[in-house]
C-alpha cells in the first residue's frame, strides 16, 4: 500500500484552533490562503525570497512559504488578520496607514508582521548586522534608521515605499517603547 500523502492536522491560528485535512506537500502559506481563506498572507515568490508571506510562528517571524503546514501543527500562528485588537489597529498597522508605508499593498501584511517581530527582537536586545556595539553590556542598541532598514530587509517592496516604511516602523517602535516605559528609542526623521 502506498504511503499516505495526506492527513488531518490542527493549527492554532490567531488564537483559534482549526482542524483540516491537508496534502502533506501543502505549505503553511497555502494552508492559510487556500484552505482557511486567510488570504491576508501573500504569495509573492513562493520560495522564501520576498517576505510577502511573513507570519509569526510561536511569536517569531517566518516566511510561511518555506514552512510545511504539517510542521506547524501544535504551534501558535499569528497572521495579519490577527494582529489588530478588534477594530483598533495594531500600532504598526496604524503607522503604515497614516504615513503611507505602502502603495499597492501586496507586500504590506508581510511588512507589518515582520515589523512587529523586528520591534520585539530589538526590544529584547537582539543585535543586527547594523548594530555597531554588540557587547552584551552595551545594552539595547538605539533603533536608528539603519537598524530598521537592516532588520526589515527581508521584506521586498517593489513599489519602493521603504522611506515611509522606515518612518512607520520607527513611530510604532516609539509607541510600543512608551507603553513599556522607555523613551527615545529612535532618531528617525519623520517618525514622530
Amino acid at each position: 500500500m502506498a504511503p499516505s500523502t495526506a492527513g488531518a492536522i490542527t493549527l492554532t491560528i490567531n488564537g483559534e484552533k482549526h482542524t483540516l485535512p491537508v496534502d502533506n506537500r501543502t505549505t503553511l502559506l497555502d494552508a492559510l490562503r487556500e484552505r482557511l481563506g486567510l488570504t491576508g498572507t501573500k504569495k509573492g515568490c513562493d520560495q522564501g525570497q520576498c517576505g510577502a508571506c511573513t507570519v509569526l510562528l510561536g511569536g517569531r517571524r517566518v516566511v510561511s512559504c518555506l514552512q510545511l503546514a504539517v510542521a506547524a501543527e501544535g504551534r501558535e500562528v499569528t497572521t495579519i488578520e490577527g494582529v489588530a485588537d478588534g477594530e483598533r489597529l495594531h500600532p504598526v498597522q496604524q503607522a503604515f496607514l497614516d504615513l503611507d508605508g505602502f502603495q499597492c499593498g501586496y507586500c504590506t501584511p508581510g511588512q507589518i508582521c515582520s515589523a512587529i517581530a523586528a520591534i520585539e527582537e530589538h526590544a529584547a536586545g537582539w543585535p543586527s548586522a547594523a548594530t555597531t556595539d554588540v557587547r552584551p553590556e552595551a545594552g539595547i542598541p538605539p533603533l536608528t534608521a539603519d537598524e530598521i532598514r537592516e532588520r526589515m530587509s527581508g521584506n521586498l517592496c517593489r513599489c519602493g515605499a521603504y522611506v515611509s516604511i522606515v518612518q512607520a516602523v520607527a513611530r510604532a517602535a516609539e509607541d510600543s517603547a512608551r507603553t513599556a516605559g522607555r523613551t527615545d528609542v529612535t532618531d528617525v526623521e519623520g517618525a514622530a
Binding site: I80, E81, G105, I112, C159
Partner: protein, 719 residues
C-alpha cells in the same frame, strides 16, 4: 521632509490636501482581496508549462501519464486547444503572438507557454505540470544582444513619433564644435516584478465570460479576450479590484487566456497564477539598450550638435521599440539634431513598457553625456542645462505647455546644497569611502486618452463614481474621490469610487502616467453634467440620477503643445575603494508635474520612482545565458531589486506647475520619478571616483575594474 507644495496654488476643497488611501485599512489588515484570492465553489487550478528551449518545435507532449495523476482534470496544448482568432487589430494594436495560446508547435523563445495542466488543487497541478514530458526539435538560437548587431533595423515608428528624426547637418556641426562628447552607454535587461504575480480566475456565468484579474486596464483585457475568443464585447467582463503592482507588465498575458480556455472546457472556474520564475518570460520586461550619444558644443556649452542613437532587442514574433532616443527630442535643442531608435530581433521574449519606457534608459545616456560635456566645458552641470533650455520643442517647434525644469533645479540645488559643491572629481574622502554628488534632469511626456465615467447622485445624498480605472498602487482610487468631491462641491466622504470593472465602459489603462489625468478629466465632466441636472431641482429617485461623460471630443480640441512633466534629480554616493560597493547616501527629487492631487500618495509615487532609479543604477540586471536562452537565476535572489537597506532617506517635493489645459490642472507623476536617477547616481560616482560608468548597473566588480582614474587619492586609498 514636508509634503506641502512649494508653489502657490491656493488649496480649495479636497484636491491638494493629504488623504490616506481609501482602501488603506483593508490593505493593512489583510482584508483587501487580490485576484488570486477570490474564492469560488468548484475552483480548479491551472499551472502553465513553458518551453525549455529557445527556438525550435514541439515534437511531442506526453499527456497520458500526467492525466492519470491524482486530481488532474485536463492538459491543454497545441494538439487539443481550441482555435483562437488572430487576424485582428486589438486595443493595443496587432496582438502579441504569445496570446495565441497553444495554436501551433513553434517555439520562438525560452519560456514560451506550451501547455496548461489543470487539477483540483494547486499542489496536484504543480506536480503534474512539473512531470509533463515535452520533447522538442531544437534549432540554433541567438539571444546575444550587443551594440552594432548586424541585423539591427529602423522600425516604422508611429504617427506620434517617428523612429528617426533629424534636422541640420550633424557632421558639419560636430566638426565645427569646439568640444565634443562621443560616448556609448548600455543598460541591461530589467524586469518589472510587481510583488503580486499575475493571476486570473475565469468562469462562465449566464453566457458571459467573467474574469477576475490583476491588470492595469480591465476594459483593455476584456476587449482583447473578446477578440481572441470571437465573442461579442458585451459577453466578456473583466474585474480587477486590487492590483499588487504592475509597472507596465499587467496587460493581457497568457494566464488570462489560459484560464478562459480551461474554464470553457471544464465548465467550472479556473485560476491560473504565474510563478515568479515564469514572470521572467511571460510578463514582459525592459529590453537591454545600447546607446550612443554625441554632443558637440561651443566652448560655453551651447549645443551645436546632438545625436542620440538607441538600440533595443525584440522577439522574432512581435516588435517592441524601447524609444530611448525620444527623450532628447523634448529636452535639448541643437543646430543639428538627430535621434533614432533601432531594434534587433532575437530569440527572446517580447519586451514591453516598463516604468518610464524610453525615458528611463534614454535619460541615463543623455544626462550622463550632458555631465561629461559640463566637465569638458568646465561649467556647472546645472548651468549647462540652463544654457541649453529650449524655448520650443527642438523638433516639433511647438511651444511648451509649461517648462519649469530650471525651477526644479533651482529649488533642488538650494535644498541639496549644490552651491557648495567642489566640481573636481575624486577629492572627497571619508575613511575608505570616496564621496561625490551628481545631478540630472528628468522628463516624461504628459499624455491623455479618451475615457468615459458615470457619476450617480444617490437618494441618500451620497455620490457614486464608476470608471474602468485601475489602482495599481498609485492611489488613483483616492485621487478620483478627491477630484469628484471638488467637482461636486462636497466632502470626499460622500463619494464612493468604484473602479476596475470593464462593465463601467471605455477608459484608458493605468500607464504612461496618463491614468489619473485621463480619468479625472472624465470624472470632472460627468460630475459637472450631474450638477447641471441636479440644479434643475426635484428629488432624487431611489435608483439615483446618473450623468455620463466621454472626453473624446474635449481631448480633440486640445491645442498642440509640447507637454511634459519635468524634474531635477540629485544624489550623493559613497564608493568603497576596497570592495567597489556604491552606497547612495541621500537623494532629492524636485518635480514640476502638474497639480498634485493628493500630496501624501504623490510623494510615495515620486519616492517609489526614485527607488526604481536607484535600483536600476546599482542593482537590477537580468543576465541571459547564451547557451540556454534563459535568464540566469530567474528569481528574486538572482534578480536583485532594491531592498530596504539599499535605500537611504530620499526626499521628493514639487514646484507649482498647473497644466492650464486640463480641467484639474494635472500632468501625471507615475513615471517621471525614475527618469534621470540612474544618471544622477552615475554622475555622482564619477564625482566620487573620477571614472565614468557608462554601463548599468554600476556593480562592485565594475567599480573595482575601472579603478579610480589617475587620481592621487586612489593609490593610498587602498591602504
Amino acid at each position: 521632509m514636508t509634503t506641502t507644495t512649494t508653489g502657490t496654488v491656493p488649496v480649495i476643497g479636497a484636491v491638494g490636501t493629504a488623504h490616506t488611501r481609501i482602501e488603506g485599512r483593508d490593505k493593512v489588515t489583510g482584508a483587501a482581496r487580490y485576484a488570486g484570492e477570490i474564492p469560488f465553489a468548484e475552483l480548479a487550478h491551472g499551472w502553465l508549462v513553458v518551453s525549455t528551449i529557445a527556438r525550435g518545435r514541439i515534437r511531442s507532449i506526453d499527456a497520458a501519464p500526467v492525466l492519470a495523476m491524482p486530481g488532474v482534470l485536463t492538459v491543454l496544448h497545441h494538439g487539443n486547444a481550441q482555435p483562437l482568432e488572430s487576424d485582428y487589430v486589438g486595443p493595443m494594436g496587432t496582438p502579441d503572438p504569445a496570446l495565441q495560446l497553444f495554436q501551433h508547435d513553434r517555439v520562438p523563445y525560452a519560456g514560451w507557454p506550451v501547455a496548461l495542466v489543470v487539477a483540483e488543487t494547486s499542489e496536484q497541478a504543480r506536480e503534474a505540470a512539473e512531470s509533463l514530458t515535452v520533447a522538442y526539435d531544437e534549432e540554433p538560437h541567438d539571444v546575444a544582444f550587443a551594440a552594432g548587431h548586424p541585423e539591427a533595423y529602423v522600425p516604422a515608428g508611429n504617427p506620434r513619433a517617428e523612429a528617426e528624426q533629424e534636422k541640420g547637418d550633424l557632421a558639419a556641426e560636430l566638426a565645427a564644435s569646439a568640444v565634443v562628447v562621443d560616448s556609448e552607454y548600455s543598460t541591461p535587461e530589467e524586469h518589472h516584478h510587481p510583488m503580486e504575480p499575475h493571476a486570473a480566475a475565469a468562469y462562465w456565468d449566464s453566457g458571459r465570460l467573467e474574469v477576475v484579474d490583476s491588470n492595469q486596464g480591465s476594459i483593455f483585457v476584456a476587449q482583447e479576450l473578446a477578440r481572441l475568443f470571437s465573442l461579442d464585447q458585451s459577453a466578456v467582463r473583466v474585474r480587477s479590484e486590487h492590483i499588487g503592482g504592475g509597472f507596465g507588465s499587467k496587460g493581457t498575458r497568457p494566464h488570462q487566456v489560459a484560464a478562459a480556455m480551461a474554464a470553457t472546457i471544464l465548465h467550472r472556474p479556473v485560476r491560473v497564477v504565474m510563478t515568479r520564475r515564469q514572470m521572467f518570460s511571460l510578463a514582459g520586461y525592459r529590453s537591454p539598450t545600447a546607446q550612443r550619444v554625441r554632443l558637440g558644443a561651443d566652448p560655453d556649452g551651447r549645443l551645436r550638435a546632438l545625436d542620440h542613437q538607441g538600440l533595443n532587442q525584440t522577439s522574432t514574433v512581435h516588435e517592441f521599440v524601447e524609444r530611448s532616443a525620444d527623450v532628447a527630442r523634448a529636452m535639448y535643442d541643437a543646430d543639428a539634431h538627430h535621434t533614432v531608435n533601432r531594434v534587433v530581433r532575437l530569440d527572446v521574449p517580447t519586451p514591453t513598457w516598463m516604468r518610464a519606457p524610453g525615458e528611463a534608459p534614454g535619460s541615463y545616456a543623455l544626462e550622463c553625456a550632458l555631465d561629461e560635456l559640463a566637465e569638458k566645458c568646465d561649467i556647472d552641470p546645472i548651468a549647462l542645462r540652463a544654457r541649453n533650455e529650449p524655448t520650443v520643442g527642438p523638433i516639433s517647434g511647438l511651444p511648451y505647455s509649461s517648462h519649469r525644469l530650471l525651477a526644479c533645479f533651482e529649488e533642488g540645488a538650494r535644498r541639496f546644497g549644490w552651491g557648495d559643491r567642489d566640481p573636481r572629481p575624486g577629492v572627497r574622502r571619508e575613511g575608505r569611502w570616496l564621496l561625490g554628488t551628481g545631478t540630472a534632469a528628468a522628463s516624461f511626456p504628459t499624455l491623455v486618452a479618451p475615457s468615459t465615467a458615470a457619476v450617480t447622485a444617490e437618494a441618500d445624498g451620497s455620490y457614486t463614481v464608476r470608471i474602468t480605472a485601475a489602482d495599481i498602487g498609485t492611489g488613483a482610487r483616492t485621487a478620483l474621490a478627491l477630484v469628484a468631491a471638488d467637482a461636486l462641491e462636497v466632502t470626499p466622504d460622500r463619494v464612493t469610487v468604484l473602479i476596475g470593472d470593464s462593465d463601467f465602459g471605455q477608459a484608458i489603462l493605468a500607464g504612461g502616467s496618463m491614468g489619473t489625468r485621463s480619468w479625472s478629466w472624465a470624472v470632472t465632466l460627468a460630475a459637472r453634467s450631474l450638477r447641471e441636472q441636479l440644479a434643475l431641482g426635484g428629488t432624487v429617485p431611489p435608483e439615483g440620477i446618473t450623468a455620463r461623460s466621454d472626453t473624446a471630443e474635449a481631448l480633440g480640441t486640445l491645442p498642440p503643445r509640447e507637454r511634459h512633466a519635468f524634474g531635477a534629480q540629485f544624489a550623493e554616493v559613497a564608493v568603497d575603494i576596497a570592495t567597489g560597493e556604491v552606497r547612495v547616501r541621500r537623494m532629492l527629487g524636485v518635480f514640476a508635474a502638474g497639480r498634485i492631487v493628493n500630496p501624501l500618495t504623490a510623494r510615495s509615487q515620486f519616492l517609489g520612482g526614485m527607488v526604481w532609479g536607484l535600483s536600476m543604477a546599482l542593482h537590477e540586471e537580468a543576465v541571459r545565458d547564451e547557451t540556454t536562452g534563459t535568464v540566469v537565476g530567474a528569481d528574486l535572489a538572482g534578480y536583485h531589486v532594491a531592498a530596504n537597506a539599499d535605500v537611504p532617506l530620499i526626499e521628493a517635493d514639487w514646484v507649482d506647475d498647473p497644466d492650464e489645459d486640463d480641467p484639474v490642472n494635472i500632468k501625471g507623476i507615475g513615471e517621471v520619478g525614475i527618469v534621470g536617477v540612474a544618471a544622477a547616481v552615475a554622475n555622482a560616482v564619477w564625482h566620487a571616483t573620477g571614472v565614468r560608468h557608462r554601463h548599468l548597473p554600476i556593480r562592485p566588480d565594475r567599480v573595482l575594474a575601472a579603478g579610480t582614474g589617475a587620481l592621487p587619492q586612489a593609490a593610498d586609498a587602498r591602504g
